[in-house]
């Protein structure tokens, strides 16, 4: 039985780009023969296997296969799998009814999840398995790691089942040597060496100073990278990926802080702005990393904190603060990027020129700043992001859907670092489709994972051909650097 | 003259007359030569009334009752059904085309079904007329 189709049709069917289909064909993931009229001939079994892989209802079902596939037909006891014995074991995942018991099995979560069906699993099945006590199977499964913990499932659940929490618990229960190597390594390195990539302190400090000098020469006269500036108001962390891979990206924030006349500092120790304890389900690591930041604030006598690059880092830190160090939140103010930028804008400390960006621009919500913050902390940073973006461009368009209903870029929850590239791209197909449909040529986001996924992966896989910027990159480029009396004075 | 066939419709108060009202509410359109006579039940219509109407020049007669089993009066429509057979027999004996009489069921919520029955009957009667008209035309031609 042969399924005859075109690359375009198949791409549409699976929601991926035709490049991805070609990649699959070329790499042998999808064995196919080139047929007449730019069509591909695919064996039904291969096509079925692909559908099964993404658990999609095949569009084409040959009559013969359909007869054998009828779901309503009673399954013969011979071929039936061994029944799951219920009620035999108690379930350690079962810590609260809100994690699974209350589930209506309505399917909302599975319908909303961009990677539902991958590995024949979806959020509903995960919840059901947890509920029915199939914990070992769950922990052994790769799915909780392919999941970006984007929380779309949770947002749509009519019963408020805490699916993300459940998945974190599953991740946490996984043997440490079984979790994806990159994440494990990141956490371990961070704990041992202070940052995920193990960048030595001297290298970092040298680079920071050097970049500061460059900035002073190009656009911010008199700028000096403030390191361990005691008594500075604001402690700013650094995502280790930046000094490692694109140091100039650090300076966008610096330029803004400079323009706003902020009193700020970077810590020479434990400057890492990532917290992969969250992704690893390793609460102890998470706590340790946050404690380091608290220590830095106390040591440098700061009164405010900014984790500038990463949605998850903000979330993990805020979460840890509320959970383990609630008193710290009394001592300093924790800014999101949006809070800080809006404060500058509203107080007139920075001025932005919308004409600096004329491309059709859109904003992509980071799950952690948006949905998760809304759910956990009671406020999602949706409108702030748009206010800021709109202030820096002439033409703006929203992605549909967005805000609370937005889709993950596909690289959250540590997935950018994980070895599940195919699933990550598959996940990102919806984001790519959204961006394509919006017609935007510039995508602005507030998280480095999102940026990287869209900029490097989705752009390539889906021929998006869009520019991707950090929000603060956009802001930095839109800054009107007219001489402001107080700026230098304050730096001096 | 191309006149629309005159059709008398006996509609029962509970279903078909109600459907005819609803056809109006729904703004369904049907031929303007239908004349509805309200009866309480399709079982009220004496076969003689059908013949009388046809003898008096109606082109067709349609009796419309509730669906079988749904008669407001338990079994009036079954009665109408039994009578429809004898009406058909009698029409045959009288040499009147069977198409001129019809019995059909329409519930109070099926205005479209009623309108369609009217339209269909009108069309059937037109078709019936077609050969006759042709003959008449021939005859007229001969006379001329």
């Amino acid at each position: 039985m042969i399924y005859e189709t075109k690359v375009n049709d198949l791409a549409e069917e699976f929601g991926v780009h035709r490049n991805t289909i070609r990649n699959w064909i070329n790499s042998g993931v999808l064995p196919a023969q080139e047929g007449p009229g730019r069509r591909y001939l695919i064996q039904w079994e291969d096509y079925k296997r692909l559908c099964d892989k993404y658990n999609r209802e095949p569009r084409f079902v040959p009559d013969v296969a359909a007869a054998g596939e009828s779901a309503a037909a009673p399954r013969s006891p011979v071929s039936a799998p061994v029944p799951v014995r219920l009620g035999v074991k108690t379930n350690p995942l079962h810590t609260s009814p809100a994690l699974a018991d209350i589930c209506l099995t309505c399917g909302s979560c599975a319908g909303a999840c961009p990677i539902a069906g991958v590995d024949d699993l979806d959020p509903r099945k995960i919840v059901r398995m947890a509920f029915l006590g199939l914990e070992e199977e769950l922990v052994a499964s790769g799915w909780p790691w392919k999941c970006t913990l984007c929380g779309k499932c949770e947002a749509v659940c009519p019963m408020n089942v805490e699916i993300v929490q459940l998945l974190r618990q599953i991740r946490a229960r996984c043997e440490r040597d079984k979790i994806p190597a990159a994440i494990r390594k990141g956490v371990v390195t961070c704990l041992e060496k202070g940052n995920n990539l193990g960048i030595p302190k001297d290298d970092f400090l040298a680079l920071a100073r050097e970049m500061g000098e460059e900035l002073a020469q190009t656009s911010c006269p008199g700028f000096v990278t403030p390191i361990d500036a005691r008594g500075a108001r604001l402690l700013v962390t650094v995502n280790s990926k930046l000094p490692f891979a694109e140091p100039e990206a650090m300076t966008w924030w610096w330029k803004i802080l400079y323009a706003a006349g902020e009193s700020w500092t970077i810590s020479s120790e434990y400057w890492e702005g990532l917290n992969w304890g969250l992704h690893a389900g390793d609460y102890s690591a998470m706590r340790t990393i946050v404690k380091r930041i608290i220590d830095n604030i106390e040591r440098l006598n700061c009164t405010a904190l900014l984790l500038p690059e990463c949605g998850h880092a903000y979330y993990a830190t805020r979460y840890a603060l509320e959970r383990w160090f609630p008193e710290s939140l009394q001592q300093f103010k924790m800014y999101t990027v949006f809070d800080l930028l809006l404060e500058y804008l509203n107080e007139g400390r920075i001025r932005l020129d919308p004409a600096s960006q004329t491309k059709l621009t859109t904003f992509h919500d980071s799950c952690h700043y948006g949905r998760h913050s809304l759910k956990t902390f009671g406020h999602g940073y949706f409108e702030e992001a748009r206010t800021l973006t709109r202030a820096c461009c002439t033409r703006y368009v929203d992605l549909v859907p967005d805000r609370e209903e937005g889709y993950c870029c596909g690289a959250g929850g540590g997935a950018w670092a994980d070895p599940f590239g195919a699933e990550r791209v598959f996940h990102g197909r919806i984001k790519a489709r959204q961006i394509g449909a919006s017609g935007a040529k510039l995508v602005v986001t507030s998280c480095i994972n999102c940026r990287d996924q869209i900029r490097f992966s989705l752009n390539r896989e889906f021929n998006l051909n869009v520019e991707v910027q950090f929000l603060w990159e956009l802001v930095a480029n839109a800054l009107s650097m007219t001489p402001q009396g107080g700026n230098e004075a304050r730096h001096a | 003259m191309n006149r629309e066939p005159v059709i008398l419709a006996f509609c029962c108060n509970w279903c078909s007359y109600a459907a005819a009202d609803l056809a109006g509410i729904s703004r369904l359109q049907y031929p303007g030569s239908i004349r509805i006579i309200r009866v309480m039940c399709s079982g009220m219509v004496h076969p003689e009334m059908v013949l009388h109407a046809l003898n008096k020049g109606a082109d067709g007669v349609i009796v419309v009752g509730c669906h079988l089993g749904e008669c407001h009066y338990i079994k009036g429509n079954e009665m109408a059904l039994a009578r429809a057979e004898i009406i058909a027999d009698t029409l045959e004996d009288l040499g009147i085309a069977a198409e001129r009489f019809q019995l059909t069921w329409v519930s109070s919520s099926e205005p479209e079904r009623l309108a369609e029955a009217f339209r269909a009957m009108s069309a059937r009667l037109c078709a019936l007329r077609a050969p006759a008209t042709a003959e008449a035309a021939d005859a007229a031609g001969e006379e001329a």
């Binding site: - | 076969p47 003689e48 039994a82 057979e85 004898i86 009406i87 009698t90 009288l94 040499g95 009147i96």
Partner: protein, 306 residues
Amino acid sequence: MSDQARPRLSCEWLHACAGCEMALLNCGDRLLGLLDRVSIVHFPLLMDHKYGDRAGAGFDLPRAEIGLVSGGVASREQLALLRTMRESCKTLVAFGTCATHGGIPALRNQWTVDQTLRTVFPEDEGECSSAFDGSSFLDRVYGIDEQVAVDLFLPGCPPRPETIVGVIEALLAGEQPQLTEKSVCEHCPTIRTGKGQRTVRRFLANAEYDPGEPIGSMRCLLEQGLLCMGPVTVGGCGGGETPLCIRARVPCRGCYGPVRRNGNQLLDMLNALASNGIDHRAIVDRRSLLRFSGAHGLLKPPEKRR
């Protein structure tokens, strides 16, 4: 009373059997009284009377106050005769069911003249056939009221003698004769409950009854499943007593014609059966229900049926 002074009675028969005339003669003593009061000016069955120029323009009939016409109209000659009767009589009575509704001869209306002739006089059976070319036949048998205005309808096959005399006497007295407009059932004493058989029994089947008991203890024949035409047939045969056929414990055959002048015995009977849930299709030849009233276009030849 002198012949001159007495009102004149004219009697003519058309497509008829003479039964009605025989019934008139069968009224016993009252006939004598009647003969004293009328002058019979024309009565072909009883007395020879020249019709005048048969081949020419028409008939020459004497004028009369009362005209009785029996039989339906089946031929051109009968039609001409009827018209002459109409012209010559002041009050014209349709006499007997053939005159009022066509009667038995109107059973012919089921076929065309041609078919009738070919059936009755098959060509290979002698020369008789050639004698009838059929040209003198009308297309069907008519009740006389279909051709001329009729003043009084006196149905029956034949009408009851006493009723005939009663009608003539009433007319002589200048009164409107009282004829029942109700059905045979009116004076039928059989027991009716409204709960009948659901089937029609074969015609040959006998009614169930106790011969020793009076008619009034017999169950309604229709309810017994016998095809009794009583409900759709105008009464009068029993003269206010038990109808004649019922007296003989056989079902009414419908010989007085429909209970309402314009009624259709076939339609009414079938409707009565159908309404009562009786399988009317079990009737072998339904058109035989019009055996007495096939005129007025109620029976038609098959080819005319579309």
